[in-house]
Amino acid sequence: MAIALAVFGLGCLVVLAFAVGRFPVSPGDFAKVIWDWLSGGTSEVPATVQTVILNVRGPRILAAIVVGAALAGAGAAYQSLFRNPLVSPDILGVSSGAALGAVLGIFFSLDVVFIQGLAFIGGLAAVATAYFIASRMRGHDPILVLVLAGVVIGALLGAGVALIKYLADPYNQLPAITYWLLGSLAAATRADFLSVLPAAAIGIAVLWLLRWRISVLALGDDEAASVGVETGRIRVAVIAAATLMTAAVVSISGIIGWVGLLIPHFARLMVGPDFTRLFPVTALLGAAFMLSVDTVARTAGRIELPLGVLTAVIGTPLFLWLLATARRSWQ
């Protein structure tokens, strides 16, 4: 029921997102263009409208959906895994690692593809390092050590980002770096969308397949193991999948906070903590949220608003409201 509702809501948002903007598109034109694109026929709709739908708004809308679903889905997985509702996808240093990778790419004036690749590798490397450090430290609570290692690695990588900003050329590179760090989908192309799709799809598929085990892991390691879960291996698989999807989408969108923290809370309020229901609802809500925010970002002002700023402005009051009224989400 909640899933059907979320799918319907997302569908309406997509149509709305295509319609609004500097170049308005009527739902009729939208339907015609999509139909002609699917059937391969020539269209009587003006070429500019076709371009707007297929090459400008289409990729951006699809990118927003993938980014939102991946960030929120990864956030839900991390929260269940670490049994902590305040955990988000950047907890293990994914975002900082990706940021350092991308910033390095911009600093060395690399091609966009390489910048994305570096962001991706940086994110994965940060988590791998945190995991390696945590696995070397025996005799402590493994989850606590992992999270602390992630935070520390994140802080170190943040210093690296600051250093490169300091060294960067203030006229060309610094604006580009700042722009990336604030998050945006303005430059998302069809190729961008297609390049992150496989990694995001693999991550989502793994989390979906392991959905019941992830639910059980919320019991705590001892109890999950005592009912038959290979806790260590499942944790590695879930971290790898969630990191893969986070790093992939961050490489095209830049840093966008709050989605992975906030959306799982709302989903949990709607359908409870059982991951088999929580995950699909979280992913759909995340997609809808990201699409709404991105639509606002490109239509609200005369210039594009940075996504990271918008999600923070929307996210902070929402989260405080949650904190004050809806303790149900985690107690």
């Binding site: 509702p85 005799g139 639910s215 919320a218 001892d222 088999t276």
Partner: protein, 269 residues
């Protein structure tokens, strides 16, 4: 069906808690573990369940090395009832009990209708049918403990390990849990249970095992092995063991000999 510890040393890396433990649990018997706080009962249990590796010796289940077995295999043979805690997310009682079925599911599977029915039956068995949809984190400590027992029942294992299942319960629920334990043993399930109350060994135990200062001693049936000397060694207090008639049958009870109220009465006389 048998769970067996052979010359088991248990503890954590760099910290040996106990050595030379020999211990067996067979189907249909209740083995009660007694020991003071901090005596290493929980560490022993975690080793017996395969959650931490033994320092030396072996834990065998049906003759197999427990620590070399996959988790799912162990979980189909031994169920675990931990001390009730609050949990982290607001799962329903039904969800928590359903998690006991995980041992019987392949890694990518979700519980089937049959699993749900078995979970519902387990909830019914511990008398929580009215709380199926209640939120686990918001029921009482005693109800949570019963829900965890239901989870172990849903797991449908021939052996159960229960870590102080009566610790957080009121008087009535303690008796209720002990009755459940006796009933399970009657149905052929082997139960290893730890407790703080030596009286409980007289109520349900076939054998008593003392865990104290790093040693594990099987003293046999409580009526034969558990006396005032043992209890003094274990808890450092004087205990008088008396026999009273309960429902027409003799039952032994442990009474602390030097409790303030009693001496107050004496001094008045």
């Amino acid at each position: 069906m048998k769970l067996e510890a052979r010359n088991l040393g248990y503890g954590y890396r760099g910290h040996v808690v106990g050595r030379g433990a020999n211990l067996g649990l067979s189907a249909g018997e209740v083995v009660c573990i007694l020991g003071p706080n901090g005596g290493g009962k929980t560490t022993l249990f975690r080793t017996l369940l395969g959650l931490i590796p033994p320092i030396e010796g072996q834990v065998l289940i049906e003759g197999m090395d427990l620590h070399a077995s996959p988790r799912a295999t162990i979980a189909r043979l031994v169920g675990y009832v931990p001390q009730a805690h609050l949990g982290y997310f607001p799962f329903s009682v039904q969800d928590v009990v359903l998690m006991g079925r995980t041992a019987h599911l392949s890694p990518f599977a979700v519980p089937s209708r049959r699993d749900r029915e078995l979970a519902a039956a387990a909830i019914e068995r511990v008398g929580l049918a009215h709380l199926v949809d209640a939120v686990y984190t918001r029921i009482s400590g005693g109800e949570r403990q019963l829900a965890l027992i239901a989870r172990a029942l849903a797991q449908a294992t021939p052996l159960l390990v229960m870590d102080e299942p009566t610790a957080s319960l009121d008087f009535g629920n303690q008796v209720h849990v002990l009755e459940t334990v006796a009933k399970l043993a009657g149905e052929g399930i082997g139960v290893l249970i730890s407790t703080h109350d030596p009286d409980q060994t007289f109520q349900c135990a076939d054998r008593v095992v003392l865990v104290h200062r790093g040693s594990v001693t099987d003293i046999g049936p409580p009526e034969e092995g558990l006396d005032a000397t043992r209890l003094r060694e274990l808890y450092g207090i004087e205990v008088q063991i008396s026999t009273v008639e309960v429902a027409g049958r003799p039952r032994r009870v442990c009474i602390p000999a030097a409790v303030g109220k009693q001496s107050a009465i004496f001094s008045r006389e």
